[in-house]
């Protein structure tokens, strides 16, 4: 869940990137920056509020150079550094990706299953959710053995839970409520 500040910055950057025709590269570069911000070793340096503005500017300059980011993303990083908003990078990247997906008419889904799904099964899911959303579906598969069986699909913040774990928990709740009413 991205915060309001991150969404505001992402919405500000998006039309500029679109105007330049660099939506996809900008999203990729932001994803790289977000990965660095999320990293346990480098993230705290970016997120720390104790660095002075010149030090933050130096830091983003170095970071941009190393990642070969575009001039637009470089300027954006300087703005974030000046306003001490580097800690919002992860949220900004996520919302920018969301805006890009919306622009391209596609939606990302996360498919969680107890065991890796076979390709036809994943295709079935993608086709179903493409029909449901009316958009192209970009799936991400995650294996979670705690689900026991079945699948859980997350689409734009909505969760469709068809896991055995969920069915067992519902059954347990029903049995408990049934026994307490006796």
């Amino acid at each position: 869940m991205t915060g309001a500040v991150a969404r505001r910055y992402a919405r500000a950057l998006f039309p500029l990137a679109k105007q330049e025709g660099s939506l996809e590269p900008t999203a990729t570069q932001l994803a790289q920056l977000a990965a660095i911000a999320a990293d346990e070793s480098t993230g705290p340096v970016l997120r720390t509020p104790v660095l002075s503005a010149p030090r933050r500017a130096e830091l983003v300059q170095m970071l941009g150079r190393e990642l070969h980011v575009s001039e637009l993303v470089m300027r954006f990083l300087r703005v974030l550094a000046a306003h001490n908003r580097l800690s919002q990078l992860i949220g900004i990247a996520a919302h920018f990706q969301h805006l890009l997906d919306a622009e391209r008419g596609r939606v990302r889904i996360t498919i969680r299953s107890a065991r890796p799904l076979e390709a036809p099964q994943q295709q079935q899911l993608v086709a179903t959710f493409a029909t449901l959303t009316g958009k192209d579906v970009l799936p991400t598969a995650v294996v979670d053995s705690e689900l026991l069986g079945g699948v859980v699909v997350e689409v734009a913040g909505k969760v469709y839970d068809g896991s055995v774990r969920n069915q067992l928990e519902r059954l347990a709740k029903e049995l408990t409520s049934l026994s307490s009413s006796l």
Binding site: L125, E169, L171
Partner: protein, 187 residues
């Protein structure tokens, strides 16, 4: 008052005695008439003084004494009457003592019976209340234990189902589950 009268009489008597002494020599040879006259005058004066001063005092004392005696007699009569009334009252009470004792005994018995009934009724109410509380507590305890057992049973069933699913979940099960899931999503 009486003392003053006596003092006056003594003074007059001594004065009269002194006068008689003074004239004793000069009149040693006076006649028998004069010998009788002066004592008579003295006596008359003495009596007059007595009449004048002593008699009213004596009369007043006697009157006061009479009044006191009369008052004392009246008080004694009143006390006697009161004592008589008290005696009669107590005689009546003694005469009614048996009846009073019988009434008191009957009253005490009635009070005791009433008190016994009240105590028994209270004890019965308390016993009923204790019984109700005990029954309620027992029912609650049974309900709680039953609930716990059911909860444990559900947990055990869940655990068993989880273990069996982990052990026996097949690709066909996954496909069937997926088909069911897609059906639900589409609907």
């Amino acid at each position: 008052m009486l003392h003053r009268v006596v003092a006056v009489v003594v003074i007059l008597a001594s004065t009269a005695g002194a006068s008689e002494e003074a004239h004793h020599d000069a009149a040693a040879h006076a006649s028998g008439l004069s010998d009788l006259l002066f004592p008579t005058i003295n006596f008359a004066i003495f009596m007059a003084l007595i009449w004048r001063f002593a008699v009213p005092a004596i009369r007043s004392w006697v009157r006061e004494r009479h009044d006191a005696v009369v008052r004392a007699l009246a008080e004694a009569a009143a006390a006697k009457a009161a004592a008589e009334r008290l005696r009669q009252e107590w005689q009546q009470r003694i005469a009614e003592l048996d009846k009073t004792v019988t009434e008191l005994r009957a009253q005490a018995q009635r009070d005791a019976e009433r008190e016994r009934d009240r105590i028994l009724a209270d004890a019965y109410k308390t016993a009923q209340s204790i019984q109700r509380d005990a029954e309620r507590a027992a029912a609650n305890e049974v309900r709680r234990v039953r609930q716990e057992l059911r909860g444990e049973l559900v947990q055990k069933a869940l655990q068993l189902a989880e273990e069996r699913t982990r052990a026996h979940w097949t690709a066909q099960d996954q496909q069937r589950s997926l088909d069911e899931f897609l059906k639900q999503v589409r609907s």
